[in-house]
């Protein structure tokens, strides 16, 4: 099981701070989140076919997926995925 930690709008959309999901990679995790939690879709997805993500921050064990393999970033048991939007106000 992968632990997904959700913040801000993602926490609001899912109604939970943390969910556990079986996924072999980020693509599968995003698809499962989308199908299970409809309200998350507008915040997470830019396009469904082909799958394209909004400019959010997705970290796998503290590393941005954009410096790993993007949607194809592999996930294994006990990985921690954190999802949040970039915020820049001051």
């Amino acid at each position: 099981m992968v632990t997904v930690r959700l913040f801000g709008v993602f926490r609001e959309a899912v109604g939970q701070k943390e969910v556990n999901i079986f996924s072999k990679n980020v693509r599968e995790l995003v698809e499962k989140l989308n199908s299970k939690h409809e309200k998350i879709v507008p915040f997470l997805i830019k396009n469904t076919d082909p799958l394209e993500l909004e400019d959010n921050i997705i970290l796998v064990n503290g590393r941005s997926i954009w410096f790993l393999d993007g949607l194809e970033t592999a996930l294994t048991d006990k990985d921690i995925v954190s999802i949040f939007s970039p915020i820049g106000g001051g």
Partner: protein, 243 residues
């Protein structure tokens, strides 16, 4: 750098902390900290850096005070509307603490002038309201090898992390892509909390107190009243620090 009798009295309550003591206070007195942005974050960070006795604070901003700033930018008051933010901020900080040096730099931070603006700085506090300038400051901090105390707000949510060049992830390790710039909603108190956390990190850094918010991103959610820490790692492919 020795402390005067007045300073020993002024900072007595913090000097009484064993881990901080006179040595910690002397270290704050020696420090030159640049507060980049005199808005919501810059107001609360600036006030606490001044009250704590940071020896030299420079405030950089190029905007003027507007009515819509006053819900959160507590260094600016109704009478300051139309005045330059640095002028307004520096005037208050000098009244808060006349034992420290406060410099106003009324300039827009750009790639071509950032190193000049940061000349002599020992640390940068990121109190900006846009990613473009944050990334310029992030890269400058890496180049100058000085710590960069990041903070940001949106609505009831705030973030903070402490970046130490070559040791911790930089801002671009966490946020590789610049999101589009737009006016964002901010609850009045959010920058108060985050700016205070940034100032606390600066104080701890110069006093040598650990742990710091290094390699960790703090996510503060005042709607749910939660503080979460996310572990963050350096990225070897980062275009700014190269991990």
């Amino acid at each position: 750098m020795t402390l005067t009798n007045r300073e020993l009295t002024r900072y007595d309550r913090q000097i009484r902390m064993q881990e901080f003591g006179k040595k910690g206070q002397e270290n704050l007195k020696k420090a030159h900290v640049v507060v980049a942005g005199a808005g919501g974050l810059g107001s609360s960070a600036g006030i606490y850096l001044a009250t704590s006795g940071i020896g030299h604070i420079s405030i950089i901003d190029h905007e003027a005070v507007e009515l819509s700033n006053l819900n959160r930018q507590i260094l600016h008051w109704e009478r300051d509307i139309g005045k330059s933010k640095v002028e307004s901020a520096v005037e208050k900080l000098r009244q808060i603490n006349s034992d420290i040096e406060v410099t106003d730099i009324e300039k827009e931070i750009k790639e071509e002038n950032v190193l000049e603006l940061l000349k002599g700085a020992d640390a940068i506090v990121d109190c900006m309201d846009n990613f473009h300038t944050r990334f310029i400051l992030n890269d400058a901090a890496l180049k100058l090898n000085i710590p960069f105390f990041h903070g940001a707000c949106y609505g009831f949510e705030g973030r903070a992390t402490t970046i130490i060049p070559k040791k911790t992830p930089c801002l671009r390790c966490i946020i590789p892509k610049s999101p589009p710039e737009k006016k964002v909603p901010i609850m009045s108190t959010t920058p108060g909390t985050i700016g205070t956390i940034q100032a606390t990190e600066v104080i701890k850094f110069f006093a040598g107190i650990k742990p710091l918010l290094t390699s960790k991103l703090l996510i503060y959610d005042s709607w749910y009243l939660t503080y979460d820490l996310i572990k963050i790692e350096r990225n070897r492919k980062c275009p700014s620090c190269g991990g």
